[in-house]
């Protein structure tokens, strides 16, 4: 049987045209890129965690669901300030429950964006962001700028679905109607396929953006800009002329911008540049949100509590202060005493100090496959794969919500989705807290 119009749960592109066929030979996923295809194969993967695990005497041993859930609830209920970290490969519905749990416990709730496009969100808080949904660039854009991003390798269908190749309403010839600029210190695959590659020195995005803004305002950048950025002023002028001269331009900013020196100041400067470009032509900017539903957490946390990530509930109301209430900082400062990690491998991706502290405190992990984080956990609850085994909502890279439906069901009798798992955990924690009070 062929399932159509499925949503891919891998990257922020949320491609919604995936077709899946379950055959005797295995799973065949059509329209998916190599990343997406690999993920669909996970359904029948030998790495899959198929039962709850509890750490006993340093060893992860299989356990019953009730027992694992009890142990997890004990850990959370007895902690005074837990960190609840919700990764991006799960639904907004699960994130909502995670936020409620964090609020109830007076803990801290954070998500992937803290180490991803968090600086971009902070840039928005400084400058605002002039953007558009992806279809605007598909139909109108005759200039696409990839700044610090390499979609051909990180979001393989971005160029073909949204930005460069599609034949839009005013871009009937697809790629031939568009100019592509890549700003990247590396000669990436995307850069090779661009019309202009601005190869700036690493960590000089802020300076290059400032110089472009100065040029846009009719001023000459300081001559040192050439040496600092490694880009000739003549080349900056050429780039700016392309930007001013297009009918509709779009910048897709990647982590190259958000994670270079300057962090959120880079994003802020880019947003200012785009705002000012709108006095000349139509120009928008968007972040190339890499991971699945990473944009969703920002949306859900903002509408439920008022802040996009790093929310502290220790005072009973939400507080936000990146650098203080964000996951890396809390772990580095040893400021939390338990952790619930949902669909994220923190031990692999966080700084070593943070990872080792995670090994010291009791940790619960919900994940589909074993990874360093599950290995250091006290309780592992098997994850359900969103968009394959349960329905829910993702927010796409341009903040458009996409409702996904499963083509199969959760393989576990004890939970239907990560949302369901978190709800059960919440109930049990509540039971303990109310019994104790």
């Amino acid at each position: 049987m062929m399932f159509r119009n499925l949503v891919c749960p891998v990257c922020g592109a949320s491609c919604d045209d995936i077709q899946v066929e379950m055959t005797a030979e295995g799973i065949v996923a059509k329209n998916a890129c190599k990343m997406g295809n690999a993920k669909f194969q996970e359904l029948a993967s030998p790495h899959r965690i198929r039962q709850p695990l509890i750490c006993q005497g340093g060893e992860m041993l299989p356990s019953g669901w009730e027992e694992a859930l009890d142990r997890a609830a004990d850990i959370l209920a007895s902690s005074s300030r837990p960190l609840i970290f919700i990764g991006s490969e799960t639904s907004c519905e699960a994130m909502e429950v995670g936020l409620h749990l964090g609020e109830y416990l007076g803990g801290v709730v954070d998500s992937n964006s803290t180490v991803c496009h968090g600086p971009t969100a902070m840039g928005i808080q400084e400058a605002g962001r002039v953007g558009a949904t992806a279809g605007q660039s598909k139909n109108r854009a005759d200039l696409t700028v990839y700044w610090g991003s390499n979609p051909l390798e990180s979001m393989p269908r971005h160029m073909s679905r949204y930005a460069v190749y599609p034949r839009g309403y005013w871009t009937r010839r697809g790629r031939f109607d568009r100019t592509v600029i890549t700003v990247d210190p590396r000669r990436s695959l995307t850069a090779e396929n661009s019309d202009l590659h601005i190869q700036l020195n690493p960590n000089t995005d802020f300076e290059l953006l400032s110089a472009l803004l100065a040029l846009l305002h009719g001023q000459q950048p300081h001559p040192s800009a050439e040496e600092v950025t490694g880009v000739a002023i003549r080349q900056m002028e050429e780039m700016l002329e392309l930007m001013k001269g297009c009918n509709y331009g779009v910048i897709y900013a990647g982590l190259g911008m958000a994670s270079s020196y300057g962090k959120h100041r880079n994003a802020e400067m880019a947003f200012h540049l785009v705002q000012e470009l709108n006095n000349h032509t139509k120009f928008v900017i968007g972040a190339l949100r890499g991971h699945c539903n990473v944009a969703g957490f920002n949306q859900v946390a903002s509408y439920l509590y008022g802040y996009p990530f790093g929310l502290d509930f220790s005072r009973g109301y939400p507080r936000y202060n990146p650098g203080e209430f964000t996951a890396v900082d809390l772990l580095r400062e040893r400021d939390v005493d338990a952790a619930l990690v949902v669909c994220a491998d923190l031990v692999s991706h966080f700084p070593a100090d943070c990872a080792s502290y995670l090994g010291e405190i009791p940790m619960i992990c919900i994940d589909i496959a074993s990874c360093p984080t599950t290995m250091l956990s006290d309780v592992v609850l098997p994850g359900v794969i969103d968009a394959m085994e349960c329905d829910g909502t993702f927010y796409r890279l341009d903040d458009v919500p996409i409702y996904f439906q499963p083509f199969t069901a959760s393989p576990f009798p004890f939970t239907a989705s990560n949302q369901h798992t978190l709800q059960q955990l919440m109930e049990r924690v509540r039971g303990r807290k109310e019994a104790g009070s």
Partner: protein, 590 residues
């Protein structure tokens, strides 16, 4: 089942013609009833409202409380959230935000202020799922959302062909698909031009490529609205919003729907009212204050409300909401992307914008209305001038266009200004003198009474958007939503306006569906709110043809046709309204 008796209150129920009479109200199973049986009376909860003001629960027909642009505002303004917080309680969630509160805080604040029904005034179809998610997370409030259609490619194409039937078929399908309540038209034809960083500036200027004028869009949408028989009329945000001198285009825009017959054909049981509770208008002008600017520049800026007031006074087909400016911080957010760009050029504040493919646009920018600012002061005066000088209160609704003119929690202050000349004079003495110099507010002696306030904040918003079949009054069969204010009408002295404002801000209690949900601002219960939306019927053959065209053009979207709708599961407590009986639709077509 539960019964509630509200005894001895002074009732203000305009749709039933009740002006302050002492009257008991009976509520059974969430609905107003004329009387209770002896057994029911014995088991009933009784609230003594002697020497108190009793009104139907507040109805906000124009607020921005859910959806992508509201949340863009929340995300970009941590400075708005850090100072205004709400801690969680045993039954309520925590929250934060002053001009753009998080959804929980928003729901509690409305309920604590006596409002039980709130409509989100701009829902972009592609992002309707977002709007529904937020409404779903909002506690207490019954809600619905108007769908933005004034720059929709399909609407523009069908109207360019002069095909009202197909436009109506499209709208009907869209409303069912996205679970929308009404039609919003924002800067018709202009926002499409904003896709190229341009705008339109007059009613007869065709936009780029689609070659359609604002006049054609307004007329077409209004005709389709009446053809479908929707409960509310077109909600119109006019062109040139926020530009000095725009009052003229506003008046001309209102003229466009003159002569159309209002035709509301919701297939619902209507609660009893003494007055006709069906809408009389064919156009509902949004935030009239922002559409009534006079002068030719910011230098000679003045109120242009006179022209709009004169026209509304002479016309029978118009209702306005004012979009009052109560001073203080605000967040401007609208589907009118170019208008927000203009504000960015003026203020240099941080500016966010999101254009939505094939459909619409939006912009968000922080703003402060300062008493020291001459322009803000005139805008304050204009918001009140419009309500006080349009003679018939049934043509006006009080809003702040939250959070554009100001925050909804300022409603009690706005009501106080409407009710007290002394309160107005005092504020005029504190703000820039242009407030009285460049508007007619200083000449207005009118002080609205509690009956008129009930019209402006309950009866008329409900009637204008057609929810009056169950909201906005306390006739038999209406929802048991009641606000009891600590105001004794017999001793009410508008000169003591501080007491008035605080009594309006923290009612004695708010009752929803017959249960007390808030007392003096404190939330006591958090029921799940209803989600109102329309399911208009349109001619099936027409719809089939429309759909084949729609599917052909869907290649320009980035979301597949199958993944476009709002799934049913997003609505926890749906309240669909069937509109346009098949036979009636067919008869009209012939």
């Amino acid at each position: 089942m539960s019964s509630l008796i509200i005894k001895n209150g002074c009732l203000f129920d305009p749709l039933n013609g009740i002006d302050g009479e002492v009257k008991d109200i009976f509520i059974r199973d969430g609905r107003v009833v004329t009387d209770l049986s002896g057994t029911q009376r014995r088991g009933a909860q009784v609230i003594d409202a002697a020497k108190k003001t009793v009104m139907p629960g507040g109805v906000d027909s124009h607020s921005h409380v859910a959806g992508a642009k509201v949340n863009a505002g929340r995300l970009m303004r941590p400075e708005d959230h850090i100072r205004t917080v709400r801690a969680r309680t045993a039954i309520t969630h925590g929250g934060s935000g002053y001009t753009i509160p998080s959804v929980y805080k928003q729901g509690y604040d409305y309920a604590g202020m006596g409002y039980t029904t709130v409509f989100e005034a701009a829902m972009p179809p592609l992002e309707a799922r977002h709007t529904h998610e937020e409404m779903g997370a909002t506690p207490v409030l019954d809600m619905g959302a108007y769908m933005v259609l004034g720059n929709n490619w399909f609407v523009m194409r069908y109207l360019k062909d002069g095909d009202i039937d197909r436009t109506a078929a499209y709208i009907a399908w869209m409303m069912r698909t996205h679970k929308a309540y009404g039609i919003k038209c924002v800067n018709p034809a202009g926002v499409e031009n904003w896709g190229w960083a341009k705008n339109v500036n007059s009613l007869d200027e065709p936009n780029i490529h689609f070659d359609i004028t604002p006049r054609e869009v307004i007329r077409g949408l209004a005709e389709a609205n009446e053809l479908l028989g929707l409960p509310m009329s077109l909600h119109l945000h006019t062109n040139n919003l926020g530009h000095p001198g725009n009052w003229e285009i506003t008046r001309e825009s209102l003229k466009i729907t003159a002569g159309l017959a209002p035709s509301s054909r919701a297939q619902v049981p209507w609660a009893e009212t003494r007055l006709d509770s069906r809408r009389q208008q064919t156009v509902y002008l949004a935030h009239a204050q922002f559409c009534s600017f006079g002068g030719t520049s910011w230098r000679d800026f003045q109120s242009g409300a006179q022209g709009v007031i004169d026209y509304v006074n002479s016309a029978e087909h118009v209702v306005i909401d004012n979009g009052a400016v109560p001073f203080g911080p605000a967040t401007a957010m609208t589907g009118d992307g170019p208008a927000i760009h203009d504000l960015y050029m003026l203020s240099g504040q941080k500016w966010s914008n999101t254009d939505v493919e094939l459909e619409c646009g939006s912009g968000v920018i922080p703003f402060v209305y300062a008493k020291s600012s001459p322009i803000s002061s005139i805008q304050w005066a204009m918001g009140l001038e419009l309500l006080l000088r349009i003679k018939d209160p049934w043509k006006t609704i009080m809003t702040t266009d939250h959070p554009n003119g100001g925050v909804f929690t300022e409603y009690p202050q706005v009501m106080t200004w409407l009710m007290s000349r002394k309160a107005r004079d005092q504020t005029a003495s504190e703000c820039h003198k242009w407030a009285y110099d460049r508007s007619s507010l200083g000449e207005v002696d009118r002080e609205m009474d509690l009956f008129e306030m009930a019209v402006l904040t309950r009866a008329n918003p409900a009637r204008t958007i057609g929810i009056s079949f169950r909201k906005g009054h306390l006739g038999a069969g209406a929802d048991g939503d009641v606000t009891i204010y600590d105001i004794d009408p017999s001793t009410l002295d508008p000169a003591h306006h501080q007491n008035l404002a605080s009594a309006l801000a923290r009612p004695y209690c708010t009752i929803k569906d017959g249960a007390v949900i808030a007392r003096r601002g404190e939330v006591l219960a958090v029921p799940e709110g209803r989600r109102f939306y329309c399911q208009p019927f349109s001619d099936q053959e027409e719809e089939k043809e429309m759909l084949s065209d729609l599917k052909e053009w869907f290649k320009y979207y980035t979301v597949g046709f199958a993944n476009y709708p709002v799934p049913d599961k997003y609505l926890k407590r749906p309240a669909p309204i069937a509109v346009n009986r098949p036979l009636e639709a067919l008869a009209r077509r012939r």
